[in-house]
């Protein structure tokens, strides 16, 4: 697919995120949603708007679009991103394991159990993703 077209499609998703954020804010103001949705709404609206503006600027300038396309498709950038994700995953696993032990030691068993379940879920997702990617490669 043409990169410009792909970016335009992404802009539709970003606009949807802005709309979702705005909807959360409005529903919170009207009292239909709990307080937390105000934070979610602001975060969604701000992030969506920032991405929308960024993509708009890039699409309007052919030189910037070409540079952005090269940076997005660059194999070394992709490799670095993959390694960063892998490293973050490793660090997260060890940090979560330490957190579970620390929470158990301070007597916060329920919190420890929650973190442990999240960790199990995370590892399960990793295993599923690994086998899907292995089957496709």
């Amino acid at each position: 697919m043409d990169f410009k077209k792909k970016m335009k499609i992404n802009m539709i998703y970003y606009a949807a995120i802005v709309a979702l954020g705005a909807a959360f804010i409005v529903l919170r103001i009207l009292g239909y949603m709990p307080d937390i949705f105000m934070s979610f709404g602001c975060a969604y609206a701000a992030a969506g708007l920032a991405l929308l503006i960024k993509n708009g600027i890039i699409i309007s300038n052919p030189e910037k679009l070409k540079k952005f396309e090269i940076e997005s498709k660059d194999e070394r950038n992709k490799m670095i991103n993959g390694k960063a994700v892998g490293l973050a995953f490793n660090i997260f696993i060890y940090a979560a394991a330490v957190a579970i032990m620390a929470l158990e030691l301070v007597g916060m068993s329920e919190a420890g159990l929650t973190v442990a379940l999240c960790l199990c879920g995370f590892v399960l997702i990793y295993v599923v993703c690994y086998y899907i990617l292995r089957a496709r490669s």
């Binding site: 090269i70 070394r76 490293l87």
Partner: protein
């Protein structure tokens, strides 16, 4: 012992030390012979300038499709551009 496992994992992910494959190549020589800048070569290969720098330095091994693009660009074979030293590996 646990911290050693963590360090080994970090090293593995980052490919630090002797595990990092450094492949010698003639890209810098060929580029200079044609009077090209790293930026111009990067533009021709549709990669970033940083990638060209990393390949020239041998800190990053180009993928086979990129190696093929490089070979086609310079009009030479892949094995004449990338020098694979089995002893070093």
């Amino acid at each position: 012992m646990e911290y050693r496992v963590i360090i080994e994992n970090v090293k593995h992910v980052l490919h630090f030390g002797k595990e990092a494959a450094e492949l010698k190549n003639r890209i810098r020589e060929l580029r200079r012979a044609r009077g090209l800048t790293q930026d111009e070569l990067a533009g021709a290969l549709s990669v970033t300038r940083q990638t060209v720098i990393a390949i020239e330095k041998g800190t990053y091994c180009a993928s086979l499709p990129l190696a093929h693009r490089i070979a086609v660009f310079f009009g030479e074979s892949i094995e004449s551009i990338f020098i694979f030293d089995e002893e070093e590996q």
